[in-house]
Amino acid sequence: MNPGDMLRILPEVVLTLTGVLIMLADASLPPNAPRRALGWVAALGTTLALWASLWQLSLPAGTAFYSTVETSPFTVFFHVLICGIVLVVLLLSLDSLPAESHHQGEYYALVVLGAVGMCLLTSGIELLVIFIALEISSIATYVLACYRKESGRSPEAAIKYFLLGSFATGFLLYGIALAFGATGTTQIYELSRLLPTAQNHTMVLAAMALMVVGILFKVSAAPFHVWTPDVYEGAPSPVVALMSTAPKAATFALLLRVVYEIFPTLRSSWAPLLWCVAVLSMTVGNVAALRQQNVKRMLAYSSIAHAGYLLAAFAGLGPGGIAAASFYTAAYAAMNVGIFAVVTMVGGYDDQRSMIADYRGLIYRAPLLGGLLIFFLTSLVGIPFTAGFFGKFYAFSAAVGGNAIWLALIGLLNSGLAAAYYLRLAFVTVQPAPDTESFAKVATPTVGVAVAAALLFTVGATLVLGIIPTQALQAAETGAHTLQVPAIDENPAYITVGTQQPR
């Protein structure tokens, strides 16, 4: 180890220090003192981390700590993304957490420390680091999911998430064990060097299968998605905003690393699998969302579908697949955090108004929130000039570029289907509310400075990624190039599975 190595984990270090600082401050503050300022500290720390990540671009790409972490445009891309998400979620939480809560200090510390895990997840190149990072981010989100512990739903969500998450971690770990068994190492680059020549081909396959299972669970892709709706429904909305985006982005980065860096030679095996999983995810997510009456649950199903779109980006193995997937992650994060911000504001911390019917006439009660809700829904539908569209566009153009035309077709038809439930919500929002007592009572949510900033960030990101996405896409592409991707062969073997030529 040399001192320069610390620079390679600078964002993580900053985040960790912020977390520790918050903990210390929390402990030293008098019990009844307001702890809202800690949130600002967290936001500041995250901003610093974000800046640190960007600064890392000036470092030459390379590894540190005996090749357990690396810094590259790829990691920077996801670091910035994750820090951005965390920052927005922090801002959102600042206004939506009950002001008098005593747990605020822990909350902010957990978010910030969880971000350490997520960041490390994208930059780790040693399965051990990755495993621990994954656990950090998971445990942080388990706890956060349980945060509204006095209600019945939040602990239920947490326990489901926790038990199933650990269950899936078991599989991931078993996969790692088998990979280790096949090669004797857990360093990603060594693995990818050794695996093609490994003696036990079937063991390698089994290792890959189990690792992929563990990761697919985390990204809530069908058929490993079953936990998602329950957890999203029960967890506090700001936390859902976080856990539906940041850990997911990190896990996607991991998935990219695993399939492209560890098992690039097995492409003919995993590509069809991801093809199937992508199709299944989008279909299951969208179809199941059609009948949902609970907004958060509906968005949970929608996130399953979006995981499907994202998988489609590189299941097709097009030349821009990785970049498209990275970009999609960012686009999805922008709009999903945005919409959860709105949902948080509308539903309240207690989720008292989370049914679709509660959104009736929202645009008249709270024009800003209503308008933004429609805007984000539009983006989720994938209407041009929003992030959702370009995300989808790049994802499916990568799929088509890889000749996976059916995948693209199914995906886009699915996004058409998805419009049905997104718009149902949007249209309810614009319907005049009945003049009944229950609606009259509904308070108009007030939008504070922090939330306003959060909304501004998400709207801005959604628009920028939709209208002038060039820079973000370039970043994603540079990142993709630094991921060690062997050249895509001309005639992938999966062609018979994925792409029956239309006749």
Binding site: F393, V400, L409, S415, F427, V430, T470, Q501, R503
Partner: protein, 509 residues
């Protein structure tokens, strides 16, 4: 002037957006949004009129072209331009916007800010569709146009707006999924979204024929739903009967038909020709079907919807007859349909606003009460059913005659039958609304006749109908200066009627 010529299209696109932004910024006080909307649309109309004024007839190809790289990889350009095909459509879009505003003037009583802002966004999207020469840009506007429309239908629907809006949205959005895949496929195989380049590349035959067939079909399908072509018209009647007048008048036809001409027939002439017989058949069926259904509607919006189906089918017939004259007629008829339908919507919207119902049976004997409305309605109806000297006739004649001489006589005759039915339902509608003894509703409500503002917009429209009926050459000359598909040029023209072929008697001699 040169500078203006280069940037005029961009300015046209931005003008409504700027108006929308202004509306959003300024407070929602009284009729302020409506005034801004009107002003914006009038300015836009003025800007669009720049195009025909400076369109160089002798110059072939696209004019007022601007092309800038928008996104590097994949290479998407902000590429806009007009030719004879889109020129007047742009002007039409510009013209219909103030009409829509006037139609909404009193109909929209609340939440004006949202309405007018979205209306203007819709305007930009529509203009964008007509102007885009880059497939992705085009697709962007194509889809963008759905959103304001759907939201406004949901907000201002008469009975169950959100259902109709959803139906409308899904009907048009889902078919655009294959369209996007097709566009992506084209890009994956050619590396460009540029219309002109694609036209050449496709014509060169370098692309595999099988997939290309499907690509063309995907294009067609998306457009056919948007037009709509029978039997894909499921959304039309509901949308017409729910949508605010201003939107209903722009929703059907134009975008889909233009796209058919430009991007289906224009890009895939070979594939289009293979499918043309089917489309001709569907068009004629739709023509008759729409006319028959219009006969038995009880709600005038639904009647208008089926009438629109009938008329749009006629235009489709003109397009897929694949004759030069037929295209002239089709484009001309798109313009006519826009003008005539705009006026009809405005008038019916006024009636509905004053009497509060769209049930035809509630009306009767209005002519004595609102003579101006009746007069204008009759004139517009006559234009719609294709009375010579009014605009409808020219388009109809061009389409029908070219179909007859160049495509298929049987279908042409059947289509002509549909034209007769058009007279039946329109005149019956006129009679039920305006003639006969006054209905209790008509007698009971002291409704006023047209207001000056409405007259100010309707009389020019009527004048336009007359002008377009008497001197169609003004428009046709520009329309003919369009960029056709390279392979179709020369291969299909109006079959020159030659005596030697047509007169067997002479041959025998």
């Amino acid at each position: 002037m040169t500078y203006l010529n280069e940037s005029i299209l961009t300015i046209i696109l931005l003008a409504p957006l700027a108006g929308a932004a202004l509306i959003v910024i300024l407070p929602d006080r009284g009729k302020l949004p409506a005034w801004i909307g009107l002003l914006t649309t009038l300015v836009t109309l003025g800007l669009t009129l720049h195009l025909p004024a400076h369109f160089v007839l002798s110059q072939h190809g696209f004019q007022f072209e601007t092309s800038r790289l928008w996104i590097e990889n994949p290479a998407i350009y902000y590429h806009v331009g007009v030719d004879g095909l889109s020129l007047w459509l742009v002007v039409l879009a510009g013209l219909l916007a103030p009409i829509g505003i006037v139609a909404s003037w009193n109909a929209i009583q609340q939440r004006r800010k949202i309405f007018y802002a979205l209306f203007l966004v819709q305007q930009t999207a529509m203009l964008g569709v007509f102007l885009s020469l880059d497939l992705m840009l085009y697709y962007g506007f194509w889809e963008l146009s759905l959103v304001p429309m759907a939201i406004l239908i949901a907000m201002y629907g008469r009975k169950d707006g959100s259902k109709a809006a959803l139906k409308f949205f899904l009907f048009t959005f889902i078919p655009s999924a294959p369209l996007l895949v097709a566009i992506l496929w084209l890009y994956a195989n050619t590396g460009t979204f540029n219309f002109a380049d694609l036209q050449i590349l496709i014509a060169s035959g370098g692309l595999p024929a099988g997939p290309l067939c499907w690509v063309a079909f995907a294009f067609l399908f998306a457009f056919a739903v948007k037009v709509p072509v029978f039997p894909l018209h499921g959304w039309l009647a509901d949308t017409f009967s729910e949508a605010p007048v201003a939107l209903a008048m722009v929703v059907a036809g134009k975008l889909g038909l233009y796209s058919m001409l430009r991007f289906h027939v224009g890009l895939f002439p070979v594939q289009a020709r293979a499918l043309a017989p089917w489309l001709v058949a569907l068009a004629v069926i739709g023509l008759l079907y729409g006319a028959c259904l219009a006969l038995v509607q009880r709600d005038f919006w639904r009647l208008l919807a089926f009438a629109a189906l009938s008329h749009l089918s006629l235009i489709t017939l003109g397009i897929y007859g694949l004759t030069f004259t037929g295209w002239d007629g089709a484009i001309y008829q798109i313009l006519n349909h826009g003008v005539v339908d705009g006026a009809l919507f405005l008038l019916l919207g006024i009636l509905e606003a004053r009497y509060g119902t769209s049930q035809i049976a509630s009306y009767g004997g209005l002519a004595a009460k609102v003579p101006q409305t009746a007069t204008l309605f009759v004139i517009t109806s006559l234009a719609m059913i294709g009375l010579p000297m009014l605009n409808g006739f020219v388009g109809e004649f061009l389409i029908l005659s070219s179909t007859f001489t160049g495509v298929n006589r049987g279908w042409a005759v059947a289509a002509t039958v549909g034209v007769i039915l058009g007279a039946a339902y329109m005149l019956w509608l006129v009679q039920r609304l305006f003639y006969g003894p006054q209905s209790p509703l008509a007698a009971g409500k002291p409704a006023s006749d047209l207001r000056p503002g409405e007259l100010l917009i309707l009389w020019p429209l009527v004048a336009l109908m007359l002008g377009m009926g008497v001197a169609p050459s003004i428009w046709l000359a520009t329309i003919e200066n369009r960029t056709g598909p390279p392979t179709l040029k020369g291969s299909i023209t109006l079959p020159q009627p030659s005596l030697s072929l047509a007169a067997p008697g002479e041959g025998q001699q």
